[in-house]
């Protein structure tokens, strides 16, 4: 099968959304969005986390139904799409998290569910034809691997090409790439940009969602900036410049977010000296967090921030180096040891690592501190409920009762339950890993206020975050991680998206910018 786009006449509009709005209970994710993509056009879609990009994409993919507005796909106008509509209409996604079967070959993944069969009564897979169907797609994309390779043996960038090949095999007319370059090396990114150029020449419409503005500038014909569910700018030609894009993306007054600490930062509470993790054994991390301080830890995905947090908390103990708490060298070989020292972790994936979702709010809140709800050697349900009610009130956890399952709470309230788990045990050091991911704006601000209150009460806070607005708006200092080591530390007067990004990609800042490392 030689892949060929069905429509190659230029400037034909493939689809358009008009006045699409999506309300969720309490939040409006999209407000009257108009968007259209033509054949052979690359549209950059940018916006900060929570701007509405994923809602918009889910509507296009037929996963989410818009509250109002119309969608026109190949001339048909309708209020919403279903997933089969989207696939039939030629809309294909390459998600950030790839959906491939690692145990199958490249060709089998590309043709999954549509395998060519031999004619016989057993309906066996025709391996020769399978290979023949997959090969030209890979050649077109300039892939450096064959159709028989096992996906498990491919790099992330190669797997991405498999996803794109799969989309092409479905005769995709519109390809949506969600943060495709976030984990790629420079050369891999170059290759992907070349692939996009080739697709464009073949008349495919591409939506390129990315935080990497340099790449957006290089490949996009038009850039759409989303903020708070609205399209705030539509840029083309010479207007596609990183500074201009950033200006539209940010737009929000960052100072509103920052709550200064009640007093000057105290002594060093957490010190990491030459810490090496199994993730990047050749690199080491040294940093310190002071009492009463919120230290933001920024960096790109894969820079080793989560692995650092897991090492400090004892999930995967560090290979070498020293951890000091309150000036004393400590040995943390398992989470219980960290907890005994008053060092707690609010993990990145709260549904998997933070909570037992089927447990009630009360049972989750007491899980790390069961001795506190024991009387006469047995669990005391009344004491447990009291403890949970106390934290429900203090943290304003919104749930009808503390005996409802944690799964029934909203993301923000779930995160507060994770916090409640630790706060009953006087934290000295709290590590937050992406504390507000997937949480609505209101709850975000409550979490920030809680973090500040904890710091003011004498805790040292290390906040890992990929949300620029959050890192800049909440931190007292920012440490930036690159490739498993700290590439620089910024004090408040040097906070800027540009400085953070420069350090995150491993560039050295000019002297005098306040980078202390």
């Amino acid at each position: 099968m030689q892949w060929r786009p069905q429509n190659s006449s230029t400037a034909e509009t493939l689809f358009s959304l008009s006045r699409v709005t999506k309300h969720y209970p309490g939040v409006t994710a999209l407000r009257e969005v108009d968007l259209s993509v033509s054949a052979g056009e690359v549209v950059g879609l940018i916006g900060e986390n929570g701007a509405g990009k994923s809602t918009l994409m889910n509507i296009l993919g037929g996963v989410t139904m818009p509250s109002s507005g119309t969608i026109r796909l190949h001339g048909d106008e309708r209020p919403s799409l279903t997933v089969p509509d989207a696939i039939k209409g030629g809309i294909a996604f390459v998600h950030q998290e790839l959906n491939l079967f690692e145990n199958l070959s490249v060709a089998a993944n590309i043709m999954i569910g549509r395998e060519p069969l031999t004619g016989g009564p057993l309906c066996l897979v025709d391996r020769k034809r399978l290979r023949k169907l997959a090969e030209p797609l890979l050649v077109q994309l300039g892939a450096d691997f064959g159709p028989d390779m096992l996906v498990a043996d491919l790099t992330l960038a190669q797997r991405q090409l498999v996803e794109i090949a799969k989309a092409l095999s479905l005769n995709a007319l519109i390809l949506i790439l969600d943060e495709p370059t976030s984990s790629l090396t420079v050369t891999e990114t170059e290759r992907l940009l070349r692939v996009i150029a080739r697709l464009k020449a073949n008349g495919v419409g591409v939506i390129f969602i990315s935080h990497r503005l340099g790449e957006v500038k290089r490949c996009a014909d038009r850039v759409i900036v989303l903020r708070d569910g609205r399209i705030v700018a539509e840029l083309d030609h010479e207007m596609i410049e990183p500074e201009i894009m950033i200006r539209h993306m940010i737009g929000r007054e960052l100072k509103m977010l920052y709550r200064p600490p009640a007093g000057p930062a105290g002594d060093k509470m957490l010190e990491l000296i030459g810490l090496r993790t199994a993730y990047r054994p050749a690199r080491s991390v040294s940093l310190d967090v002071r009492q009463g301080e919120i230290l933001g830890l920024a960096g790109l995905v894969g820079s080793g921030r989560t692995e650092l947090a897991r090492a400090v908390f004892g999930i995967e103990p560090p290979l070498a180096g020293e951890i000091r708490i309150g000036g004393k060298t400590v040995a943390i070989d398992r989470p219980a040891a960290a907890i005994a020292l008053g060092l707690y972790l609010v993990p990145e994936d709260r549904k998997r690592s933070g909570l037992v979702l089927d447990f009630s709010v009360a049972k989750n809140a007491s899980l790390a501190n069961l001795p506190a709800v024991v009387s006469h050697g047995l669990l005391d349900a009344a004491a447990e409920t009291r403890l949970a009610r106390k934290w429900k009130n203090r943290l304003a956890i919104r749930c009808s009762d503390t005996n409802v399952p944690a799964a029934s709470l909203s993301g923000g309230n779930q995160q507060k339950v994770v916090l409640a788990k630790w706060l009953s045990m006087a934290p000295r050091v709290l590590i937050f890993d992406e504390p507000t991911r997937g949480i609505d704006v209101g709850a975000k601000h409550e979490i920030y206020a809680l973090m500040r209150a904890l710091a003011d009460n004498g805790a040292a806070i290390l906040m890992i975050s990929s949300d620029m607005e959050e890192v800049i708006g909440v931190s007292d200092r920012i440490a930036v991680m690159h490739d498993g080591a700290i590439s620089g530390i910024l004090s408040r007067n040097c906070f800027s998206e540009e400085n953070i990004l420069s350090l995150a990609v491993g560039r050295v800042l000019n002297r005098g910018l306040g980078a202390s490392q």
């Binding site: 908390f313 999930i315 398992r334 989470p335 219980a336 960290a338 907890i339 972790l345 993990p347 998997r352 690592s353 933070g354 909570l355 037992v356 979702l357 089927d358 447990f359 049972k363 899980l367 790390a368 069961l370 001795p371 024991v374 050697g377 047995l378 669990l379 788990k421």
Partner: protein, 322 residues
């Protein structure tokens, strides 16, 4: 008592009534006492199975442990090697050791519980047969241990001591599972091991403890069963007992995904299984159909439970929307 347990209780009462109406001998003191004895014997190791299933694992070697520890116990006692009290302690300690080994292989070596305990099933059975040269183990003619026999196979106003033991152990285990810190941690580990680990719970130790409890209780059951049968042919003694235990736990609301179950449920599940066995005998159903009846009832029970759960969820959801 939750809805599930209540449903099970109602089922037991309904089946009991039907059987009693068809064949009044069901309620005769002799039959009741015999059934009670079997409930006690099978219940003791079913309790242990529940702990392992709640941890997210499974213990398949129960029947072989019953055979191996049974012959060891009879050999120690009948040969007057050590006093029977000491023999009990040795056998229970051996059971706990087996649990320790299973738990170690599952947690530290990262093997799957199914594989580890399947190997246990094969190994212990083989060792039991080798130990007796495949001959039947039993007491020599005229040997008598009145206290031991009274303790394990005696009756108190018609109530078999095995049932008394089961009741005592079930009460203790109910407290351990539902009221102790360990029990809470076990549920957390079974439900979401990663979240348990991030909460500072020593998940490996919790899991190992579940296997130790399971095999320790199985050892206790092995003693009672050995004293009940008084002779053991090691190639068939205890065959399929692990399946009775798993069936009782599943009927009682334990989920094989882990993190779910109750002691009351396991007790009711055991009772139901033995009532079913009894029903086959009393209603003149060919005893060859025994397992078929058991399997069908479990299947229907689990199916009905799931349908009810789905319906409840649907109504709850529609109420939420409205």
């Amino acid at each position: 008592m939750n809805r599930k347990d209540l449903g099970l209780l109602v089922l037991i009462l309904v089946i009991g009534t039907v059987v009693a109406v068809i064949n009044p001998r069901f309620l005769s003191p002799v039959n009741l006492s015999n059934t009670a004895n079997l409930i006690g014997l099978f219940g003791i190791f079913a309790l242990g199975q529940a702990f392992v299933i709640i941890s997210g694992g499974i213990e398949l070697s129960v029947g072989s442990i019953v055979a191996l520890l049974g012959v060891v116990f009879l050999d120690l006692v009948a040969g007057n090697v050590i006093p029977w009290g000491a023999a009990m302690i040795v056998v229970i300690a051996l059971g706990c050791l087996m649990g320790l080994v299973h738990g170690f292989l599952v947690t530290r070596m990262g093997l799957q519980p199914f594989v580890v305990t399947l190997c246990g099933l094969l190994v212990y059975r083989g060792v039991a047969r080798y130990y007796t040269d495949d001959a039947t183990a039993g007491f020599p003619f005229g040997a008598s241990f009145p206290w031991l026999e009274w303790l394990t196979a005696g009756r108190f106003y018609g109530v078999p001591h095995s049932l008394v033991m089961f009741a005592i152990l079930a009460s203790i285990m109910a407290v351990v599972l539902h009221r102790s810190v360990f029990g809470r941690r076990l549920f957390a580990v079974g439900r979401n091991e990663e979240a348990a680990r991030y909460s500072g719970i020593d998940t490996q130790r919790t899991t190992v403890t579940a296997y130790v409890i399971c095999c320790g209780l199985t050892a206790v059951a092995a003693i009672f069963i050995a004293m009940y049968t008084r002779s053991i042919s090691p190639s068939s003694h205890g065959n399929f007992y692990e399946l009775y235990a798993i069936a009782a736990a599943v009927l009682g609301g334990c989920s094989l995904r882990g993190g779910e179950g109750s002691i009351l449920g396991v007790v009711l599940g055991t009772i139901l299984l033995q009532v079913l066995q009894n029903l086959v005998n009393l209603l003149g159903i060919p005893s060859s159909l025994n397992f078929a009846v058991m399997g069908s009832v479990i299947l229907i029970g689990v199916l009905a439970d799931q349908q009810f759960a789905q319906r409840r969820e649907r109504t709850a959801r529609s109420r939420k929307v409205a």
